[in-house]
C-alpha cells in the first residue's frame, strides 16, 4: 500500500516536471528570501554590536573638555587639562577599576624601507590592552622598563604592518621612522576588524613617555580610558571619577567641568536602539516575503489540484477509495514543499554566505528560528492548499468530478 502510494506520488510529480518545478521554485524563492533577509539583518546587528564591543569592555572614556579662550568655545577635546597624574590618581584612589590607560594620539607620517603611510600614533601604557580589548598577535607589548626609559619601540596594528612591510610579513626587529626618529618594532596586534572613521587596525602604539618626549612634547594626555571591573559598577565608578577629577582640577561647579566622561553603556544603548529599528525593518521585509511566497505557493497548489479534478474523478470511478486519493495528494504536497523547502534553505544559506564573502564588514548569520519559520509557513501553506482542494474533489461524486472543466 505504502509502496503504491509513494510510487503514485513520485510518478505524478515526475509526470509533470514543469508544473512540479514551478511549484518548487515558488517555495524555494519564498523560503530563501526570508532566510537571506533575516541573516543579513542579524549580521548587520551583530557587526554593529561587535564593533562597539571591540572598543573595549566596561569602558569609561575621559576626554578633555572644551577650552574657552575669552568666551570663545574652542570645541570639545581642545583643552589640555588631563595629565598622567590624573590617571594615576584614578587608579590609586578609586575602587573597582581594572585598568587606567592615559593616551596621547598624534597623526604622523611613517616610513619603513622606502614605504610610507600616514597613520595614528598612540602613546599609552600596558593597561590600554585591557581597557580597549587589544590583543598581541606576534611579539610583545612594551614592558615597564621600556615605559620608564621612554624606549623608542613600537607595536603595529595589522593594517599598518601590511602597509609598511607587506601582507603578513614579520616586521619584528625592523625599524620604522617618524619625525626623524627610528622606532624598533617589537610586536603586532591582532586584527579587531572594523572600518570607517577609526580603523583600529591601522594604528601604531608607542610607550606613553616616548610619545610625550618625542612626539607631543607636552605633559598633557588626549584621553584616559578606564575599565571598570564589572558592568554593574560602571555608573558608580563614573561618578567617583567625576568627583575626583573635579577636586583635582579645583572646580566647584560641576557644569564647568573641563573634561567629559563617556560611558560605553551609553553607546551600546544608542546602538541597540538603532539595531532594534533595523531588526523591525528586516522582519517586516521578511514577513512580506513570507506572505508573498505563501500566496504564490497557495496559488500554485490550488490551480494544480483544481486542474486535476477530472483525474480525481477518474480515480474514484475506477474504484480508488477516497482515503487513498486524499493520501496521494497529501503526499504530493508534502514532497513538493519539503523538496522546495530543503532547496530554499540551502539557497538562502548559500546566498547569506555569498553576502558575507563579498560585502566586507558584514558577517551574516543564518538564524535557526528564521529557517524554521520560513520552512514551517511554506510547508503549512503548501500542505493545506495542496490537500484541502484535493479532499474537496475526492468528496465529489465521481460523475461531478469527471464532468469538471
Amino acid at each position: 500500500m505504502i509502496v503504491d502510494l509513494l510510487k503514485e506520488t513520485v510518478w505524478s510529480l515526475a509526470g509533470n516536471k514543469v508544473r512540479s518545478g514551478l511549484t518548487i521554485l515558488g517555495i524555494v524563492i519564498g523560503i530563501a528570501s526570508v532566510i537571506t533577509m533575516v541573516a543579513i539583518g542579524q549580521g548587520a546587528k551583530n557587526s554593529v554590536e561587535s564593533s562597539i564591543e571591540s572598543i573595549g569592555s566596561n569602558l569609561i572614556m575621559i576626554n578633555p573638555g572644551a577650552q574657552r579662550v575669552g568666551g570663545i568655545n574652542q570645541g570639545g577635546g581642545s583643552s589640555q587639562t588631563l595629565t598622567v597624574e590624573d590617571a594615576t590618581a584614578i587608579k590609586d584612589e578609586i575602587m573597582n577599576v581594572k585598568a587606567v590607560a592615559p593616551s596621547v594620539t598624534k597623526r604622523s607620517q611613517l616610513t619603513a624601507k622606502g614605504k610610507n603611510t600616514n597613520t595614528q600614533i598612540i602613546g599609552t601604557n600596558a593597561d590600554y590592552l585591557i581597557a580597549r580589548n587589544v590583543t598581541i598577535d606576534t611579539g610583545s607589548f612594551f614592558s615597564e622598563q621600556q615605559m620608564k626609559s621612554s624606549a623608542k619601540v613600537a607595536v603595529l596594528g595589522p593594517a599598518t604592518r601590511d602597509d609598511l612591510f607587506g601582507e603578513n610579513a614579520n616586521p619584528i626587529g625592523q625599524t620604522i621612522r617618524t619625525n626623524n626618529m627610528d622606532f624598533q618594532v617589537i610586536g603586532v596586534t591582532a586584527s579587531k576588524g572594523g572600518s570607517g572613521f577609526s580603523n583600529q587596525d591601522d594604528i601604531v602604539y608607542v610607550p606613553l613617555t616616548s610619545a610625550q618626549h618625542y612626539l607631543s612634547g607636552s605633559i598633557y594626555v588626549n584621553n584616559i580610558s578606564v575599565a571598570a571591573e564589572d558592568q554593574t559598577l560602571m555608573a558608580s565608578v563614573q561618578d567617583q571619577i567625576f568627583e575626583l577629577l573635579l577636586k583635582r582640577h579645583k572646580i566647584n561647579d560641576p557644569t564647568q567641568a573641563d573634561f567629559s566622561l563617556m560611558n560605553q553603556n551609553d553607546i551600546i544603548a544608542t546602538a541597540t536602539s538603532i539595531t532594534g529599528t533595523f531588526t523591525i525593518l528586516l522582519s517586516s521585509i521578511a514577513g512580506i516575503s513570507l506572505l508573498v511566497g505563501g500566496i504564490g505557493i497557495m496559488n500554485m497548489m490550488l490551480t494544480t489540484v483544481t486542474e486535476r479534478t477530472r483525474e480525481i474523478g477518474l480515480r474514484k470511478a475506477v474504484g480508488v477509495r477516497k482515503i487513498y486519493i486524499n493520501l496521494q495528494f497529501l503526499a504530493e504536497a508534502v514532497l513538493l514543499t519539503f523538496l522546495g523547502g530543503a532547496m530554499g534553505v540551502l539557497l538562502g544559506w548559500g546566498a547569506s554566505m555569498l553576502v558575507s564573502k563579498f560585502v566586507s564588514g558584514l558577517t551574516t548569520s543564518v538564524s535557526m528560528s528564521a529557517v524554521l519559520l520560513a520552512f514551517g509557513v511554506s510547508a503549512g501553506v503548501g500542505i493545506i492548499f495542496g490537500f484541502y482542494p484535493a479532499r474537496r474533489a475526492a468528496n465529489l461524486s465521481p460523475i461531478e468530478a469527471l464532468r469538471y472543466e
Binding site: 503504491d4 483525474e311 475506477v318 474504484g319 477509495r321
Partner: protein, 219 residues
C-alpha cells in the same frame, strides 16, 4: 417542483448479455448509466448487481464495488495524461496489495486481449490515436475481471472506421462471455447488441431482442 430523471424503470440483465440502452439526450439514459455503474444511487428503488444491493452502499463501498464488479469505458477515454499505457491499465489495481510484476502481467494480458499492439505498451497516453486510447480504456475496464463492462458512448469521439473496430472489439468480448452494457444515442452503435432498451422521458419505451445487422462488420 421535483423532477425525476427516471421513473418506474425495472429490468434485468443476465450474465453474458450484450445490451444497448438508447435514447435521445435528456431521456434519462445517463442517469440510468450512473446508477448501473454505481457512480450514483437511486433516490428510491433497488439495484442488485451480482447479488449485491447497491442502492444502500456508502461512498467507500461503492468505490470497492466499482473496482471489483464494473469496468468503465468512457466517451472521452479518461486516461491519465502523460502516463504510460501500462500504468493506465493498472490504475484500478492500485492499493490492491497485488505484487507489481503480477499487475504488469495482467495489464499486458488485458491489453493484448483488447487488441493493443505490444510495441505501444510503454507509450504515453497522449501519444495515442483515438482508437488506441479506447483500446487502452477497454483493457483497463477488463483488468479486474468485472461482472459488467459499462460503455458510455464509447464511439462518440471516434470516426466511423475507428468506431467499427472498437465495436468489433466489444462484440468479440461479448462472444468470449463478458456482459456488456452500452449506452448510446446512435442507432448504428446500438444495433451491435443482442438486446436494445429504448429510454424516453425517464421510462422504458421498448425492450427488444436484436439481431445485429453488422453495420460495422464487413462480412
Amino acid at each position: 417542483m421535483k423532477t425525476n430523471a427516471l421513473n418506474g424503470v425495472s429490468f434485468g440483465i443476465k450474465k453474458g448479455e450484450f445490451v444497448s440502452i438508447i435514447g435521445p439526450s435528456g431521456s434519462g439514459k445517463s442517469t440510468l448509466m450512473h446508477i448501473l455503474g454505481a457512480l450514483d444511487t437511486p433516490t428510491t428503488g433497488q439495484y442488485f448487481l451480482d447479488g449485491f444491493e447497491v442502492s444502500k452502499l456508502n461512498d467507500d463501498e461503492l468505490s470497492d464495488l466499482r473496482r471489483n464488479k464494473i469496468g468503465f469505458v468512457f466517451q472521452s477515454f479518461n486516461l491519465l495524461p502523460r502516463t504510460t499505457v501500462l500504468r493506465n491499465v493498472m490504475l484500478p489495481l492500485l492499493y490492491s496489495g497485488m505484487p507489481h510484476p503480477e499487475r504488469e502481467e495482467k495489464a499486458k494480458a488485458c491489453l493484448r486481449y483488447a487488441g493493443m499492439e505490444e510495441s505501444k505498451f510503454g507509450n504515453l497516453s497522449n501519444q495515442l490515436s483515438g482508437g488506441q486510447m479506447q483500446r487502452v480504456a477497454i483493457a483497463r475496464a477488463l483488468i479486474n475481471d468485472p461482472a459488467i463492462i459499462l460503455a458510455d458512448e464509447p464511439t462518440g469521439n471516434l470516426d466511423t472506421k475507428t468506431s467499427a473496430t472498437v465495436m468489433r472489439a466489444f462484440q468479440e468480448l461479448n462472444q468470449k462471455g463478458h456482459t456488456i452494457i452500452l449506452i448510446t444515442h446512435e442507432m448504428d452503435v446500438a444495433d451491435c447488441a443482442n438486446r436494445i432498451i429504448y429510454v424516453r422521458d425517464g421510462v422504458i419505451e421498448k425492450d427488444v431482442l436484436n439481431k445485429p445487422q453488422d453495420h460495422f462488420l464487413p462480412q
